[in-house]
Symmetry: C2
């Protein structure tokens, strides 16, 4: 269903419009009137003839609208939850398609509320209804002068769309914006996301050219693959930034109890956002800083990326350069115009620097001192920003009272201004990182694959054989029998494998360096005695492999994420994998080039690549193995988790030496 | 010299007191009067009879004071630099001991200014003068109602002393404090630190019981050893927090050009502050957050350390728990009192939680929603904080206009309040870390050692022999001669050593695994040919060592820091030391227990300690080696740098296999 008339309705009705100013039904109606919405506005109230000075209607059915007009109507519900389903059914009958349900009392209260929400979803599916919420703040579209929320908001339009899954955080953002003299294009409170979710909204926002940045606060991304498909296309011309709460284990648990969402792991969210080319926000401070700093011109600008500074305090300059260094950014120049700088000296420095084509990004620092003129300096900065709209000009005025009005002035003039220069530098870095990743982004396509016959994971050699089917080489492995024909050219490794030996090293189920038949027999004997009961199960047995030396041990694997699909892993392997914690994650549509990049992101990479005059390892083979494993992950959805550890990476090949499989 | 009368003078004279309100000389005088200083105040002006309505004197010599009174006089100079030395000489003659030099035009301008400062230092030494500055903002001592700066400041007293090496940042802090309704005990602008530096001031502040926290912004710590000696004693009962600018390479360069200081490395500063038990601040935001959060009661409190939350927004709760998790803190409970919580519901939750003895640390989150009453909630929080002065009660009110007055109220009531809960959590963590380290801190004593005869570093075997003198075991090493008596029980290693072979692996000057005499001879031949010219220098020669297997390669070493003395290093060694970057630093007074702790801080530690059922390495031997190396570093000040890499750590010993020495 198109959301055109949901976001740009020709008329709005408020069900539950109230004469009581303390009620949401009054506040919403009042906001719609105050906002200056151009279309018709219909208060719906069972008893009152007039609400807020306008004629009211007793029922949606009573509205003087034709069917076509009803399709272009947006209805906002602010009535108790138990009354809702009947009203929604009425909408379906009347051909009303676009609904906002402000009312709480659904999934978030559990029990009866959960059932009510399920019924709502059924209705919406059956009748193709666009429903925002329930349990939300509503919608603001400043381009249409529509404020269909119960929160006061600015009338001006803006280039940023803000989505929030939390009403409270949405309200806080609106409140913050007011003090910053800052307007949004859209404000969308997603609420319980029973019907419309972030993906639906993104599809609509993608097409609105007036929207230049989309920022979302989410507590879960429901359909990560759709999200990546959408956003990876969007990112090249319209950045999307996401703050997802519940990234820690404890936070995730709380989020689940709060929203009932099955949250993805932090690794999955980070890999998914990266794949989508989205900007990952770690906390609310980063979110607010991004709102402050974002300028379309900046990220479209293909010029030089060094950051220049003007400062009237040496100390501030040094601290800022420290942060530039910490963020791995390039410093153009830090120009100390000294403590006695007045506004004119700032003006001259601004002129001189900005006239230089090399200077694309400038941060102006001011610390209030005897000769400082903060407000006048702010005026000069704002004037410079107007003159050079394609350069990024930021300011950081340190202090309190002495710089308060200057800061407010800069905010009013849309010049990004920060309390601390560190914030400016870190946010700048974030946008730069986005810019680089968006440039090289290929659109994500959920892999179209033929699902293969499920594997039988209960046999170890069969699992290894599965790897071979996907062109992953394995160490020569065969079952130990009493009188095996063995070559001892290389020492052998004896292992116990099977469902009861998933942690072989810790279980003492691996013996290496067996050089003679006698050593082998003795090892078999010892292990047999120790593991008698487990070996009674025929799925557990002895395996023999030739020992691989001079290899780097890697781990290769995947985990299936509920939202983002299979998540591939490569890292430093062996028995110390967790200790080194040198692993990298990627979405399973990766190709050879991205596999190479992923490997290059490992800390161990310089060693694989022959650091300090040493020989190189077969990085290409590891990359191919990753790509093949991705194919396996996509074609075998019955496998929940798979680990190859170790994968021996030698100078010329990548050999899987052990496998662990978990079926779902 | 005691600084008693410097900080608590009985009278103050201002040299350069002016009738022109735009001049510093007027502003300083005005601040002294406005501040309500109880002692006599003498404006000194060559011509004017009266300044600021008070009788003025033409010269310091004309003051109606006895010698004893002059010793208790503080003189503030705000006259041009070229006139200063004569005035300071006059002070010496008159027996005036305490001077503040506001005037700029010294070291910071280079050339003549530098010479002027040197002369000033000479005078101060000769006559034992206490001089603050030059090129500073001055001094505020609110306990004596003395504001001897040209910056406006609050009259109220406070428990925090703030030191700043930068006038500009000092001014910004004072300005910020005004908006926060926050008062300092002392404000001390150190300026060029020609005479009085942070250490002198710390000695004084250590004794003032009214000061509960000392915060310093420094661009260099001149005498790090003295600093550690002072602060490690102070830390147990009075925390000291330091922000040192110029920590990055680029920032350090800038700092040097700015202050002419020889800055310590970041590793040295961090190790030094840690040794001193000081709180390390990374940037100004952390500094301001600490000022906001600090409560003496908190760190004296020995109770439980979990952090409790009250929130009216699930999302805010989740984000805060994420940060608690990131900071490795323990969450007590996150209590969601729901979006429709009014002030009374907050009050009840506060009562219930705070009555619980387990609850020591509480963060109250508020997001403005329809039923929220931010200001009334703030009142209840402030009341609770008064009722439970020994509990740490913090607040974070998200948003803008709707919470502005509530925030201001909390600030006025001295309740720490933050824009973002992350800041509260991170600052809380900082204080907690301080608390733990301060508890276990032993006082630092610059090692009293007998300096030994300098080593001759030009001979490699002699350098190895030096290690043996300090009980550091080395791999058996001997010079290769044409017909050596060799045992090939273990394979041998052949190395080229000497002043031209400092990067042996990269130079291809190491051959391992030599199992026969023939292999050895062939290796010698090859290397001889390749390094013919270098071998002409008799200090370069062949060395033979038995190969050590099954060992972890560590690096052990030290660097001499200009401020903090020898800085010991231990880390993962071998040819990939830089790639692993797993190193830890310590001050060279370390003992066995601290050596063990240092080793335990390495990422590789779990492996050394026998992770995953493996055998343990000889950690005790590595710790002893560190302690012995510290002794060597202290007794041989002529060695600027020393590296042992690799140090082979086996199951039962630590063996130095290679050494690199740099003499100063």
């Amino acid at each position: 269903m198109s959301l055109k008339y949901f976001f740009q309705p020709e008329a709005v009705a408020v069900v539950g419009a109230s004469r009581n100013r303390r009620k949401l039904g009054w506040q919403i109606l009042d906001n719609i009137f105050k906002g200056g919405f151009k279309g018709a506005v219909f208060p719906i109230n069972l008893r009152a003839r007039r609400v807020a000075g306008r004629p009211a209607f007793s029922d949606l059915a009573a509205l003087p609208l034709k069917r076509r007009e009803r399709e272009r109507l947006l209805v906002v519900f602010a009535i108790p939850a138990p009354l809702l389903l009947r009203e929604v059914e009425k909408c379906a009958v009347l051909g009303i398609k676009n609904l906002i349900i402000i009312s709480a009392g659904f999934k978030e209260v559990g029990g009866r509320g959960r059932k009510r929400e399920e019924a709502l979803v059924q209705l919406a599916r059956k009748h193709q209804l666009n429903i925002l919420g329930p349990n939300c703040l509503g919608l603001i579209n400043t381009f249409n002068a529509l404020n269909a929320t119960f929160a006061a908001a600015d009338k001006k339009t803006g280039a940023i769309a803000f989505l929030s899954q939390s009403g409270a955080i949405g309200a806080a953002v609106l409140d913050w914006l007011k003090t910053k003299n800052f307007s949004l294009g859209y404000f969308i409170s997603l609420g319980n996301k029973a019907v419309l979710d972030e993906n639906d909204v993104l599809v609509y926002l993608a097409r609105d050219r007036r929207v230049e940045l989309i920022v979302a606060y989410l507590e879960e991304i429901k359909d990560g693959q759709k999200f990546m498909a959408l956003v990876s296309r969007l990112s090249k011309h319209k950045p999307v930034a996401v703050l997802q709460a519940g990234q820690s284990a404890a936070g995730g648990q709380l989020a689940r109890s709060h929203t009932g969402a099955l949250t993805s792991s932090l690794a999955a969210v980070k890999a998914g956002l990266k794949r989508a080319g989205a900007i990952w926000l770690e906390n609310l401070e980063e979110l607010f800083n991004l709102l402050s700093l974002f300028r379309k011109e900046f990220w479209r600008n293909r010029g030089r990326e060094d950051l220049y500074l003007i400062t009237n305090a040496g100390g501030s300059g040094v601290l800022t350069v420290d942060e530039i260094s910490r963020q791995n950014l390039k410093l153009g120049r830090s120009w100390d115009i000294l403590g006695d700088a007045d506004a004119q000296r700032y003006r001259k420095a601004l002129r001189k620097l900005l006239a230089d084509k090399k200077v694309n990004n400038l941060l102006v620092l001011l610390t209030p001192q005897t000769m400082s003129e903060p407000l006048l300096t702010a005026r000069f900065i704002a004037a410079a920003a107007k003159k050079y709209p394609h350069k990024l000009i930021m300011a950081s005025f340190l202090g309190g009272k002495a710089v308060a009005s200057a800061r407010a002035y800069l905010e009013k003039q849309q010049v990004p201004v920060f309390d601390f220069s560190e914030e400016a530098v870190a946010t700048f870095k974030k946008l730069l990182t986005y810019k680089h990743s968006a440039l090289n982004l290929s659109p994500y396509r959920p892999p179209a694959v033929r699902i293969k016959k499920p594997v039988r994971a209960d046999d170890y050699l069969r699992a290894l054989a599965l790897l071979k089917k996907y062109c992953l080489r394995t160490v020569k492995s065969f079952r130990y029998k009493a009188q095996p024909r063995l070559s001892f050219k290389r020492p052998l490794v004896l292992k116990l494998v099977g469902p009861d030996f998933n942690h072989k090293s810790e279980q003492g189920a691996v013996v290496v360096g067996l050089k003679t038949r006698a050593q082998l027999r003795s090892a078999v004997k010892t292990l047999s005695l120790k593991n008698k009961s487990l070996l009674a199960d025929g799925r557990n047995y002895f395996l023999i492999q030739p020992q691989v030396n001079k290899a780097q041990e890697l781990i290769l694997g995947f985990k299936r994420d509920p939202a983002f699909g299979p998540l591939l892993l490569i890292g430093r392997g062996g028995i110390y994998t967790e200790i080194f914690n040198d692993v990298a994650w990627e979405i399973a549509d990766l190709d050879y080039q991205r596999a190479l990049k992923l490997i290059a992101s490992l800390k161990i990479y310089p060693i694989l690549n022959g650091a300090r005059g040493q020989k190189k390892y077969a990085i290409a083979a590891a990359a191919h193995a990753l790509v093949n494993l991705a194919r396996l992950a996509n074609e075998h959805p019955e496998i929940k988790e798979l680990d190859i550890n170790p994968l021996f990476l030698t100078r010329d090949s990548a050999l899987a030496a052990d496998i662990r499989l978990v079926l779902s």
